[in-house]
Symmetry: C2
Subunit: 219 residues, 2 copies
Amino acid sequence: MRQERVEEYLGAIYRLRVDGETPVPLSQLTGYFDFSPVSVHEMVLKLDAEGWVAYHPYRGVTLTEAGEEVALALLRRHRLWERFLTDILELPWDAAHEIAGGLEHVATEQVTERLAAFLGSPQACPHGGPIPPQARSREELCLRSVPVGAEARVSRIAPETPERLRLAADWLLTPGRDLRVVAQIDDATEVLVADENAGAARPIVVPSEHAQAIWLELM
Amino acid sequence: MRQERVEEYLGAIYRLRVDGETPVPLSQLTGYFDFSPVSVHEMVLKLDAEGWVAYHPYRGVTLTEAGEEVALALLRRHRLWERFLTDILELPWDAAHEIAGGLEHVATEQVTERLAAFLGSPQACPHGGPIPPQARSREELCLRSVPVGAEARVSRIAPETPERLRLAADWLLTPGRDLRVVAQIDDATEVLVADENAGAARPIVVPSEHAQAIWLELM
DNA sequence: GAAGTTTATAAGGCACACCTTATAAAACGG
DNA sequence: CCGTTTTATAAGGTGTGCCTTATAAACTTC
């Protein structure tokens, strides 16, 4: 298997999982990559055979220790490049995510560590994801489960997809932003986002698909 | 054809050619990539069919205008990344060259231009190669053809291979260094390289294979 | 111009990571 | 518990870019 492909799969599994225990269903991977279920299944069998993941039929995959190590290293590279691209080259959020997706496979250990040092060893990527090695510490809640009326601060977007990052930027739902949940309706969440420029708060309706991927800390 | 492969070939042809006229023999490409002659021939036919190169049987390939444009853009990205890796991340010369070989395929136009701006629009890569768009202006001479006794300053290493870059670094034959040619022997050139640290000049014997790839300006 | 060296081309193969179609088995929901 | 939905697996296929072996054609050199 090509190293790059292995890394992509392990990274995807890491990003999609809720914890280290619960297996990630193959259907999720299918959606993440937009590959056919058969292709994903095939690849997962190979990854299992080589010890990167544990495959639990009809339930999904979990990362082995080796697999998690690779995923964390990849994520670290990804997020450091994102910081470089947004902080130093001043690229927009979502573009940075895409470019970092390519750069993450190239950098060696040495390059990564020097990059980290140059950036001042940042602790989080521009979407608020922690840069490994470092565990998630704060109490997070996804937008979908914030009680109506509560005020909260956006902490991160995860899982991150290019489209979601673009939308989040449009909605001003970026890490650090404050908001109040106005209503939890049928299959969407309505929020008011503080907007210094506009002077007033902006009302936004976030489909639950995305509301489940926007994480906040209560204030 | 995969874009990356196309770029690699076009870049190689650009680096290997002596001028825009003389075709680069396929045997040179075979050596550059360490691929079989048949594979290179096959690929060259495809590149010709798609208008990236002009293939002259029994003579070699030249870049078309489209091909040259791609090659120049690639080289620009490559050399800018090299500068970033050596200047900002302080990587050694040869490591930078290798890593840049991966990064050059990832960066978009936007990233490249912001990187250039961040680096202060440098005019040359760490091995002295000009960063396109910008023509070679100085009067250059390869080490092999410098007359005995002449003093000269290293301006660039080209074509660059990882091994050659490593050797050049060992020999202190890096852009900016001053030297005097002591002898042009059988199939090597003997030089004295100024070395501030050692206090005295270091005598070096450079095989003609490499002496043909180290470029200088007479002083 | 014959000998030797390069270069071209034909023919067949391989690994990788995707694909589709189709069937079978397990899991889940009323 | 039965039907629906999800998941697994078999079988066969595709394109890319490499490979080897072998033959043929063109250049080069003496």
